[in-house]
Symmetry: C2
Subunit: 263 residues, 2 copies
C-alpha cells in the first residue's frame, strides 16, 4: 500500500524531485526499464496485466529480478496511472542523478549534446530524447523552464532512451560553468539553412532547441555562436518541434564526416 | 442544438465519412480553418472562449464570415469536445474530397507525395501532414488501415496543414491505378541509408511510411522500388515514426538539387 501512495505522489514534479524517483508506466516502458539497469524500487500491477502473454511474461520478469510487486485493483491502479487506457503495470525507478558537467564531460572530440530550452510538451521532450539517442548524442540537458524529464509522459514517449542516456536538469549558470570547449548552437527558423553547412560543425556541439511556441529564450540566443534553420516551403509556418530537433540532430550527427568519406 | 448533436456525432469515424464533415477544435485550429477557405458549416462556443482576447477576436472573426455560431454551456461543450482541456471553440468543416488520382495528378516533374501505410497514431499522422506541407509534398494519401485523417486529433496535430494540402483516403488498387510515372519508395530500417543517396531520387516520388509498430505492410513492400533507412546509432531501436518521416521528407525534398547547385 505504501507503494501505491508513493506512485500516486510521484505524479507531482515536486515529489519526484524531492524523492529522486520516477514512474515508468506501460508494458513496453517497464520492459525497457528492467533491461536498462536503472534501479527499480517496486512495481504495481492490476488484474488486466495478465490478460496478454507479454503482460504475464513481464510479471514473471519482475519477480525474477526480486523487484517487490504489489497487486492492486483496477480502480486503485487507475488512481496512480497517468494514462487514459492503463495497461495494468507501472514501476517506480530511481532517477540517475546527473549534472550538466556529467553530460558535457562525456563528449568526445566529435560529439553532440542536446539542450532543451523551455520545451514544454512532454511528448515532444520524450521524442527528442529518443532522437538524441538515435543520433549519438552524449546526453541531454534540460535548462530551467523545461518540462520535468522524469514526468510519466516524457518517460513513455522516450521509449527507453531516457534510461540509457545521461540526462540532467540544470540552470544556465551550470551550463556556462560546464561548457568548456563545446560550442552552443541554437535552432531558429531565421538562422542559416543547416543544409548549406554540409555537415560542418564544431567537434563538440551543444544544440539548443527552444519552446514550441516562443522559440529560443534570450538566454539561449545570447550564448549561441550560430543559429541554424531547416529550409521549408514558403507559406508553411513551422515544423513540429520534435521533428525539427530530429532533422537538426540528423544533419549534425557526429559520424557524418566518416560517412561521406566512404566511396 | 442540431449543431451540438452533429459535433458529438462527428467524433465517430463512420459519421464523418458518411457526412463528409469534420470537427476542428481549439483556438488555433479554428483560426487556421477560417483562414484556409475550407467551407465551414457552423461553430460551437463555450463561455470560456471569451476569457482571452484571442478567443474573443476569434468569435468576432466567425461572426464576420457569417458562420452560424451556437453558444453552449461548458458541460455541453465538453460533451462534444475531444480534448482534456477544451478551449471553448470548435467548428464543423466540410472535408475537401480528393482521390489518390487528385494527389498524384498534382505532382510536377520534381515532386513528392507522402503515403501513410497503416499509420495508427493520430498525433503522428497530423505531424506527418505538417512535415509533408513543409517539404513541398504535392499531397498525402492514407491507404486502407490508416487512421482517419479527419479525426479531431489529426486535425489538431496537423496545425492547419490538413486544410492547405490535398489529402485522400484510398485503397491500394486506387493507388495502383493513379501511380502513372511516379515511383514508390518505402521507409524501412533495413533499407539503404538515405544519406548515401545524396538527394538522388526520381522526379516523381511517392514515399510510403508504415505502421508505428509493424512497419511497412506487405502491400507497400511489394510495390516499393526502393527501401530507404535513416542511419542511427547501434543499440538504439528506432526513431519516432513522425520524426523518421520528417527526416526522409527533408532528405528527399524536391528543391534540394537547386540548393546544392548554388555557390
Amino acid at each position: 500500500v505504501r507503494l501505491l501512495s508513493l506512485a500516486r505522489d510521484l505524479r507531482r514534479r515536486r515529489a519526484r524531485e524531492r524523492q529522486g524517483l520516477f514512474v515508468a508506466e506501460g508494458v513496453r516502458t517497464v520492459e525497457e526499464l528492467l533491461a536498462s539497469g536503472v534501479p527499480v524500487r517496486g512495481a504495481l500491477a492490476a488484474p488486466s496485466l495478465d490478460g496478454t502473454p507479454r503482460g504475464a511474461a513481464l510479471r514473471a520478469g519482475i519477480a525474477e529480478r526480486g523487484v517487490p510487486l504489489l497487486d492492486v485493483s483496477d480502480a486503485e491502479f487507475a488512481s496512480a496511472s497517468d494514462t487514459d487506457s492503463p495497461q495494468g503495470i507501472l514501476a517506480v525507478g530511481e532517477q540517475p542523478r546527473a549534472t550538466a558537467a556529467d553530460v558535457l564531460g562525456r563528449m568526445g572530440e566529435s560529439s553532440c549534446a542536446l539542450l532543451l530550452d523551455a520545451v514544454q510538451d512532454p511528448g515532444n521532450a520524450g521524442t527528442m530524447l529518443r532522437s538524441a539517442a538515435a543520433f549519438g548524442a552524449a546526453g541531454v540537458i534540460a535548462v530551467t523552464g523545461t518540462v520535468d524529464l522524469w514526468g510519466a509522459k516524457v518517460v513513455r514517449s522516450a521509449m527507453g532512451a531516457l534510461f540509457r542516456q545521461v540526462v540532467a536538469h540544470a540552470s544556465w549558470e551550470e551550463v556556462d560553468a560546464a561548457l568548456g570547449g563545446a560550442e552552443l548552437w541554437g535552432a531558429d527558423g531565421a538562422g542559416e539553412p543547416v543544409s548549406r553547412l554540409h555537415g560542418e560543425r564544431p567537434g563538440r556541439l551543444v544544440l539548443a532547441v527552444g519552446n514550441e511556441g516562443a522559440g529560443l529564450s534570450a538566454d539561449a540566443r545570447g550564448r549561441a555562436r550560430r543559429l541554424v534553420a531547416i529550409p521549408i516551403a514558403p507559406g508553411v509556418e513551422s515544423l513540429n518541434a520534435a521533428v525539427a530537433a530530429g532533422i537538426l540532430l540528423y544533419e549534425l550527427r557526429p559520424w557524418r564526416a566518416a560517412e561521406s568519406s566512404r566511396p
